[in-house]
């Protein structure tokens, strides 16, 4: 996801919609900001700065499927070495359908503020619009009833 800084007008709707609590509006500037995966560096063929700078290569950048495969191998490797509490945090089975920045954690991912079942907020749209539609119908029907009866 990339927030276009020249378009964002700071409505703040992304802030209440991010299931991971990542994006925020800069109070001095008014616009919303989040990590861009170094969009500018990538355009010049470079890797994101964090992955380039990380001294232990704990942060890796690459093709998502390759990274997922690498993470699976790493988990298996760590389990072999007796690390029974390693987990991969990538909620593929939730409505989010997996994330593009995932983590290998020791201990429950919850302990790192990572929600076990995050939801894409649009999953609530259907029932919300249904409620809106029914309410609108009731309002119109009620108004016709009230004004029809009230005429005398």
């Amino acid at each position: 996801m990339y927030v276009q800084p020249d378009v964002c007008n700071g409505c703040g709707y992304c802030v209440v919609n991010c299931p991971f609590g990542v994006i925020e509006r800069n109070p001095d500037d008014g616009r919303a900001f989040k990590c861009t995966f170094c969009y500018d560096r990538q355009r010049d063929g470079l890797s994101p700065a964090c992955a380039t700078a990380c001294p232990t290569e704990s942060i890796k950048f690459g093709e998502i499927e390759e990274l997922r495969e690498e993470a699976r191998e790493r988990i298996a490797n760590l389990r072999d070495k007796g690390f029974d509490d390693v987990h991969i945090y990538d909620p593929v089975d939730s409505s989010v359908g997996g994330i593009h920045a995932f983590f290998i954690t020791r201990g429950d991912p919850k302990s790192y503020n990572l929600p076990p079942n995050p939801d894409v907020p649009t999953v609530h749209l259907r029932k919300a619009w249904t409620s809106a539609g029914l309410a609108a119908l009731c309002m119109v029907a009620g108004a016709f009833l009230a004004f029809g009866k009230g005429r005398d």
């Binding site: 209440v16 991010c18 760590l78 609530h124 749209l125 009866k149």
Partner: protein, 372 residues
């Protein structure tokens, strides 16, 4: 610092020192990487004392709890919406419902004054609403960017377009109505009547969306107290907006209108049901609706929009033509109307505050066990 700068400037010694230090650090990093790759851990100082035994003593981090979450840092970011947003929910909701009243009233041949005033209520609300929304933007000068695209899956986008259509249609219908009564000459009067009625229909249709979509807007978010009520909020806000519109018109001198009173009873009954539902539910994610500062606001707003005006209206009975102007029944209905307007505004503030409280509680999203 000044000393180093001086050396760099004069002799370049600083740069030389930095270059000399670099290979050491890089070599150490390579060492760490090799060790990590070979053994799956780094057994140097600062690493776990138990590393040599090959077993892990326990996680070197505290477990997240319902009380503290992640080091006391909430999972969700705080909503940065200010008071303009609940104020807009109130104004837009009342304006949208007023347009519906104007249109249905006009179609059923209701009191001409009532239709005219309902059109103006919609138009004024439609003018205040964008101002409130624009002033809440982080970059108000970019408000037109809201209309850059139309995105059906974004209630924010749908709402923005709806508001633009509504504001224009409501203003057009109110102005056409005014011009129609001013220029009664055959051709002009008829033209203004057609323009007024057409724009009134557009205002009523978009008004229905305007008074309900704000519930969708906050219902379809990541904030648990809102998303868990996604099916309730749009209807709740519609009832709140209808109650407010009816009450404002009554306070403008239509407190003896039977249709308005009937709609007021309907809205208050709906709000009473919503209030009872909120009270009957007991869940960690819904705590902000019953506890703390936001809980108090939700309850007060609910009482003022539901049970109180409902009781007052039922006590007052249906308005009759022969009741004198000073009738106690009329005063009861006025009290009900005042209570409903205050309750409608308070309800929107309360839900926004409940959202803020919900964003601070990590327990529902982290699915943490909570003590009762």
């Amino acid at each position: 610092m000044a000393d180093t700068g001086d050396k760099i400037g004069k002799t370049g010694q600083g740069q030389h020192q930095r270059a000399r230090g670099k290979p050491d650090k890089e070599a150490r990093l390579r060492e760490i990487r090799c060790e990590a790759e070979l053994h799956g851990r780094v057994g140097s100082r600062n690493a776990s004392e138990d590393a040599t035994s090959g077993a892990i003593a326990g996680p070197p981090f505290p477990l997240a709890s319902a009380e503290t979450g992640y080091y006391g840092t909430p999972l969700l970011k705080k909503s940065q919406w200010t008071m303009e947003i609940p104020a807009y929910f109130f104004v837009g909701g009342a304006a949208g419902a007023a347009a519906v009243i104007a249109s249905v009233g006009n179609l059923t041949g209701a009191d001409k004054d009532l239709v005219r005033e309902a059109r103006w209520l919609a138009a004024i609300g439609g003018a205040i609403s964008p101002a409130l929304l624009i002033s809440d933007l982080g970059m108000p000068s970019r408000f037109l960017n809201m209309l850059r695209v139309f995105k059906i899956q974004s209630p924010m986008s749908v709402g923005s377009w709806t508001l633009v259509a509504f504001s224009n249609a409501a203003a057009a219908s109110a102005l056409a109505g005014m011009l129609q009564s001013r220029y009664r000459r055959a051709g002009a009067g008829r033209m203004f009547r057609i323009i007024g009625n057409a724009s009134e229909s557009v205002a009523a249709l978009t008004g229905l969306v305007l008074s309900t979509y704000t519930g969708v807007l906050i219902g379809a978010t990541a904030v648990p107290v809102w998303s868990e009520n996604a099916a309730t909020l749009p209807a709740h806000f519609a009832a709140s907006g209808l109650g407010a519109a009816v009450s404002i018109l009554e306070l403008k001198g239509h407190e003896s209108n039977r249709a308005l009173n009937a709609l007021g009873i309907g809205a208050a009954a709906a709000e009473t049901i919503v209030g009872a539902r909120i009270e009957s539910q007991d869940k960690r994610s819904l705590r902000p609706l019953k506890h703390g500062h936001s809980g108090g606001l939700v309850r007060l707003g609910g009482l003022l929009s539901g049970p109180l005006p409902l009781t007052l209206r039922l006590l007052a009975g249906s308005p009759k033509k022969h009741h004198s102007k000073k009738s106690w029944r009329r005063n009861l209905r006025r009290a009900a109307a005042l209570s409903t307007v205050a309750g409608s505004l308070l309800t929107r503030i309360a839900w926004l505050e409940a959202g803020k409280a919900s964003q601070k509680d990590p327990a529902p999203l982290l699915e943490l066990p909570t003590p009762h």
